[in-house]
């Protein structure tokens, strides 16, 4: 019995850490831009499938998404050529260079047969900018829209990206190699090395975000835009750039989460939505604004998921999502107390 509990605990912790990266992304995006990003899970799928392609020696379809997105960015900027052709040519030139670098990087990585960690970095470099591009296309034109408008837009983004995923990768699942195969017997429990990899990577990512936002001026600017958008503008902080940065970092975190998760479940075009929603349940615990509470939330989600998978496997997702009801009730009583 105690073996089972230990096993479930490790499993729950692993799941929780994967969702933690998602919840972190959701909180980051929501605080800086006020977007409840339903599409956040799609970066999980993109990360996992890009890594699958790279590991099997194919040109990843993500590259075409990226280059297409950069081209669209250049097209949206045509209005500036008449006003300020110098700036406009610099901008378009930068986009072209970014596209060429991405292409060269992917070809180089494929030619060199990098190890899994190296391929993860390349996949990250391909997926993360997509976050900034999606910000450019969906939020940038209407920064003062209401939350509900952004929710609807993000549902649209989620569907479109899933459709593109289906178009590029088809409906088949792809196996993804873990960072390290095998595992370790710790007492009575077998722990796969991938679980350790998840622990280390998740902690490094979270620690990195913490150091970035506490010890760099740009990180502080990101926090400032989250706390008071108008005040940030009065400091000369370009709030559209911080919004894009938040989307980019969030995409990076979610992609990492997908790349860590994929070896455990195989990657396919519709894996992201479910993972995204589970991250959301955890994030809801912190009201999408509180990092520590969100982490508590995702750990509860992870733990409940692994125990319910063991006890009543068919109802696993039902149980996880019904967690949202007590969480929302609890948030409601809390906010009422605060309002008083």
């Amino acid at each position: 019995m105690s073996d089972t509990i230990l096993f479930l605990l490790v499993d729950g912790l692993t799941n929780g850490l994967v969702y933690a990266l998602l919840a972190l992304s959701l909180v980051l995006v929501f605080t800086v831009t006020r977007v409840v990003n339903i599409a956040q899970g799609e970066y999980v799928m993109l990360g996992a499938l890009t890594l699958a392609d790279l590991l099997q020696g194919r040109m990843p379809g993500t590259l075409y998404l990226l280059i297409g997105g950069l081209a669209l960015c250049a097209i949206l900027d045509v209005g500036r050529w008449r006003r300020d052709w110098r700036q406009a040519s610099l901008y378009t030139g930068g986009l072209i260079v970014a596209g060429i670098v991405a292409l060269a990087l992917t070809r180089g990585a494929l030619a060199l047969h990098l190890p899994v960690i190296g391929m993860m970095v390349v996949a990250l470099i391909l997926v993360a900018p997509l976050g900034a591009l999606i910000y450019r296309f969906t939020v940038h034109p209407i920064p003062n829209a209401t939350t509900i408008v952004f929710v609807i837009i993000s549902v649209g983004v989620s569907m479109s990206v899933q459709g593109l995923g289906l178009l590029i990768w088809g409906a088949n699942p792809y196996p993804v190699d873990p960072i390290a195969a095998g595992g370790l017997m710790m007492g009575p429990v077998f722990i796969p090395y991938q679980s350790f990899a998840i622990l280390v990577t998740a902690l490094l990512a979270m620690g990195g975000l913490y150091l970035f936002s506490e010890f760099t001026l740009v990180g502080k600017a990101l926090q400032a835009s989250a706390m008071n958008r108008l005040g940030a503008q009065f400091c000369g902080i370009p709030v559209n750039a911080t919004g894009a940065l938040a989307f980019l970092l969030a995409a990076a975190f979610s992609a990492i989460s997908g790349m860590l998760l994929a070896p455990l479940i195989t990657a396919n075009y519709e894996m992201g939505f479910m993972v995204g929603l589970k991250g959301f349940v955890g994030g809801a615990m912190g009201g999408l604004i509180d990092y520590p509470l969100s982490l508590v939330g995702v750990m509860i989600v992870g733990g409940l998921e692994s125990t319910s998978a063991y006890v009543a496997s068919a109802y696993r997702d039902v149980l996880v999502f019904s967690l949202l009801i007590p969480i929302l009730l609890w948030r409601n009583t809390r906010s009422r107390v605060e309002a008083r």
Partner: protein, 250 residues
């Protein structure tokens, strides 16, 4: 004298409602002017429009020879137009020193030495900020928050400093401290626009003044002159009853 800011026929509205109605004025380099007037006269609207937070409906605003119409707030800050907003607009979870550093966000590439020197200048001007520099802005008193807002604005090295009701909600002693700092800035050659409900205070700092009522300038002139203007005396300098009696007598 060269004009730093020139505003011609500026009109600003919220949808259909016009808040600033065809106002023209200019500010010369090194000059401090003030807008006084009651609540809802359009003083804050005027500053927000100069800052680029509100779109102007018509008219032109020229700063150092450049038309500002298309510029976003952050671009205006880069040109040296900086505001100390009425509601301070601080970041509650960041420390006082973080606010000051963020005030110099656009000058972040100028290097560490310059940043430290700029911080020292602010601490010399507002010594209370140095005591509180590790404290979170959300835990400061109203007066200290106002000082943070002033310090943050100065870190941007403004060409034109706009102060929106710096005395609102502050104890007289704190107000005095803030206005002493403004006096010192003025003596150092700062150009500024001060918006105040406390007309006496405003006219003691500024060289020229404008009285704003429901979006229109109803009186303007040298500060000394305005102080003696019966309309100003009546409405803003607490001589209302006497003025009204005088009017009904005639």
């Amino acid at each position: 004298m060269t004009k730093l800011l020139e505003v011609a026929n500026l009109t600003v509205g919220y949808g259909e409602a016009i808040a600033i109605d065809d106002i023209s004025f200019s500010v010369a380099r090194g000059e401090f002017i003030t807008f006084i007037g009651p609540n809802g006269a359009g003083k804050t609207t005027l500053l927000n429009s100069l800052m680029g937070v509100l779109q102007q409906t018509s008219g032109t605003v020229t700063f150092a020879g450049e038309d500002l119409k298309a510029l976003k707030p952050e671009a205006r800050v880069a040109r040296g137009i900086v505001i100390v907003p009425e509601r301070r607009e601080l970041f509650p979870g960041l420390s006082v020193e973080d606010h000051l550093r963020l005030g110099a966000f656009l000058r972040r590439h100028e290097g560490r030495a310059k940043m430290v020197a700029a911080l020292e200048r602010i601490y010399a001007l507002l010594p209370k900020l140095k005591e509180r520099r590790k404290q979170l802005a959300g835990t400061l008193s109203g007066g200290e928050q106002q000082m943070v807002a002033v310090g943050r604005a100065l870190m941007a090295e403004p060409q034109l400093l706009m102060l929106d009701e710096p005395s609102t909600g502050l104890a007289p002693r704190i107000t005095e401290e803030i206005f002493e700092a403004i006096d010192r800035l003025k003596a150092a050659g700062m150009t500024g626009i001060l918006v105040e409900q406390n007309a006496n205070l405003a006219l003691s700092v500024a060289e020229r003044g404008f009285v704003l009522e429901v979006g229109n300038v109803v009186a303007s002139g040298e500060a000394e002159q305005l102080r003696k203007d019966p309309r100003v005396l009546a409405a803003y300098l607490g001589a209302g009853d006497r003025y009204r009696e005088a009017m009904t007598d005639t």
